[in-house]
Amino acid sequence: MSEEKTYVEDIDRSFYDFRFEEKDVYRVASGLTPEIVEEISREKNDPRWMRDFRLKSLQLFHETRMPEWGPSIDGLHMENIVTYVRPNARRMNTSWEEVPEDIKDTFERLGIPEAERKSLAGVGAQYDSELVYHNVREEVAAQGVVYTDIESALHGAYGDLIRSHFMKLVPPSDHKFAALHGAVWSGGSFVYVPAGVKVEIPLQSYFRLNAAGAGQFEHTLIILEEGAYLHFIEGCSAPKYNVANLHAGCVELYVGKNATLRYSTIENWSRNMYNLNTKRAKVEEGGKIEWVSGSFGSHVSYLYPMSVLAGEGARSEFTGVTFAGRDQNLDTGCKVVHNAPHTSSYVNTRSISKDGGISTFRSAVVVNEKAVGSKSAVSCQSLMIDSFSRSDTVPAMDIRTNEADIGHEARIGRISDDAVFYLMSRGIPEEEARALIVSGFAENVSKELPLEYAVEMNNLIRLEMKGAIG
């Protein structure tokens, strides 16, 4: 006779949960004041316009109310957050040998240099508030592809381009944490792909937050010209501390006419992290944005990549999986705004909740008057592993033309006993059977990832499901 289920064990996160003594050479005081923002601006050697931009954003942060609709972020106290920490490294290196030993060891453990050698066209690695490593393959650079840290680009030949695009898609007035980002952003990547250039193998940025009680506010800006192609991968992790950490990054993607950008994220922040990230893409005529998103970590997440379909025939695809375990409240989803005729969007998500975790799928599809002939299909499915957890779906649709076809479906349920019984009758132990079913449930995302990342994601699911019966 099987024992009644009494609890669900938590994941072993020791793989990501290593840390080194903080050897940062510089950090600002905790809290958020004009003096701190000016100090960051001086440290970054900002042009005047950027300094003014930061201060205006800070003012907006103080004026903007907290959202009334998401998970509680009462445990996040901005007066305790250190918004800028510069590690003990040269600002940016193009060789791993120049990176300080402890930081290099961090990224070695995370497998970044190995992935660079095997399967990537370029890598950026951020440690706390600064990019410490950036490199791109010669043959890719020879095509005119620019992949560098955003501060270097700001001061170099691309300064005007950055000024004309920086926080134009996500203005600081967008919401409270966009304003915070505008005030204290630091680090991040700039990618420029010229017209017609197809980058056949992916670029990757990895963000690691090592300092306790710190915030990471990197800015990623990617511009694809007409007919270009790029797959960009973003990864993130941090060791766990018993104080709150904050990630409020910002990603702005400009997808040109007939260009395609795939943006993949495997997010695995530690469970003291408040992940309040903003991602947005503007897609021109015939262009396409493909979001692939796996959310596994953090204590609280607000994450809804947004696609603005600005040109006729522009397309958006969002494929996501969210896995919420103990002490996690992951509020994820996406937003799509159809602003031009014959645009289309397709959303396919899976959520899994266990061990008291809360996952919420939240979405918005807006079809404006001009978007005649547009189509949208949203499908979200949620799986409850136990009765201590929660799973909610909160989709919204705002349709302002009759010349549109909009479909939506949502489903919440449990693991089928029949499916578990079938697998067990084939000799598979119950725990493994359940893990297999959950992996299959999340296959919509794993099949969209490069093989190495799909394997990592499936390992994460297997770890999460370990002890899921007891």
Partner: protein, 356 residues
């Protein structure tokens, strides 16, 4: 003059969409309305405070009316009570309600009723609200319903309003063990219409079946908040809504299936189908499933937009022009719901109004 916040769903969405609540501005109370009643002999009539139940529009309308006494109708235990009919006819009050809160906004004429079905009883209740030709004004009707153990209530809610009449309807219901509420809702016309229905499935194996049809045209504005709250084990709900928007009509439907912890074996299904007829229409939908228990099922499906192109092609090949096809399909959607109403008199009335 007061402002009312109503139709707040149990879970909020993004603030920039402005879907989390609706606000009526510049309100003042008017006269209490009196319905025409057809009361079967087995129904006991009382006057008592409104039962304290969560309602779809929320607590503010009741507070605004000063916690009024309700016309109470009680179906006695283990009795088949036949059909209760309540009809409110709204007259002209001299002004059209302005949602911006104009000084000369009409007073809100109002009434309140409650239905109490004791254990094992059965009742069909038809609640009909209509306005006189050309009438202008604002009305408000509160209803509270208790469906006792193994009782069955077939509740038919009809609204037939002219284009200058605005209305607030607020219903709260609770089903005890094995209680079943079968609700048919037909919404035709109106200027600014706010429709809130919340049903708590408190007892095990209780059920809520909702079938809604609406047609909004001109500058009509229909704002709905529907909730099915599952607390009892093996509770079930089916919430269907089918509608047609024409001209510059606006419609917002918030529909929530709330599967609360402890409602093991519960199932909730919600389906929405909206036909958009003209370029100026606007449709907003927020279909929410909240889930706090493992052993449940929640499903939602929505289809919003034009007619299927294959269907259009088929009907066009049979000699129908585009306008004719849309008119036919729009009428078919409404009639499909109307014909399912379990009261022949109401079906005939509505089919006559729909032009049959």
């Amino acid at each position: 003059m007061e402002n009312l916040h109503l139709n707040m769903p149990p879970a909020f969405t993004y603030g920039w969409l402005n879907l989390n609540r609706s606000t009526l501005k510049g309100l003042r109370t008017g006269e209490r309305l009196t319905p025409q009643e057809e009361i079967p002999g087995k129904i006991a009539v009382t006057k008592a405070p409104l039962p304290s139940l969560k309602s779809g529009a929320g607590p503010e309308p009741e507070a605004f009316l000063g916690a009024p006494l309700a016309r109470g109708y009680t179906a006695k235990k283990n009795t088949d009570c036949g059909t209760l009919r309540l009809s409110w006819s709204l007259g002209d009050t001299g002004a059209v309600y302005d949602p911006k809160g104009a000084e000369d906004n009409p007073p809100a004429h109002w009434d309140a009723f409650s239905l109490d079905l004791e254990a094992g009883s059965t009742l069909t209740a038809v609640v009909d609200v209509s306005s006189a030709d050309g009438a202008r004004g604002l009305g408000m009707l509160l209803g509270r319903v208790r469906v006792g153990e193994n009782a069955l209530l077939r509740l038919v809610l009809i609204q037939r309003l002219g284009e200058d009449y605005s209305f607030v309807f607020d219903l709260g219901a609770q089903n005890e063990r094995g209680g079943r509420l079968e609700l048919s809702r037909v919404l035709l016309g109106g200027k600014h219409v706010y429709d809130g229905i919340s049903v708590a499935l408190a007892g095990d194996k209780s059920a809520f079946i909702q079938d809604v049809a609406y047609a909004v045209s001109g500058d009509g504005h229909l704002d709905m908040n529907y909730e099915s709250i599952h607390r009892g084990k093996k509770t079930e709900c089916t919430m269907n809504a089918s509608g047609v928007l024409r001209d510059r009509a606006f419609k917002l439907l918030r529909g929530t299936i709330d599967l609360q912890r402890g409602c093991a074996g519960a199932k909730g299904n919600e389906l929405e189908d909206v036909l958009l007829m003209d370029p100026g229409v606007r449709n907003q939908s927020v279909p929410v499933i909240l889930c706090g228990d493992e052993d449940v099922e929640g499903n939602h499906g929505a289809s919003i937009g034009r007619l299927d192109e294959n269907l259009m092609y088929y009907l066009a090949s049979r000699g129908m022009d585009r306008e004719e096809i849309y008119e036919t399909m729009a009428r078919a959607r409404l009639e499909a719901v109307i014909r399912r109403i379990p009261d022949e008199k109401t079906v005939k009335l509505l089919l006559k109004e729909d032009g049959e």
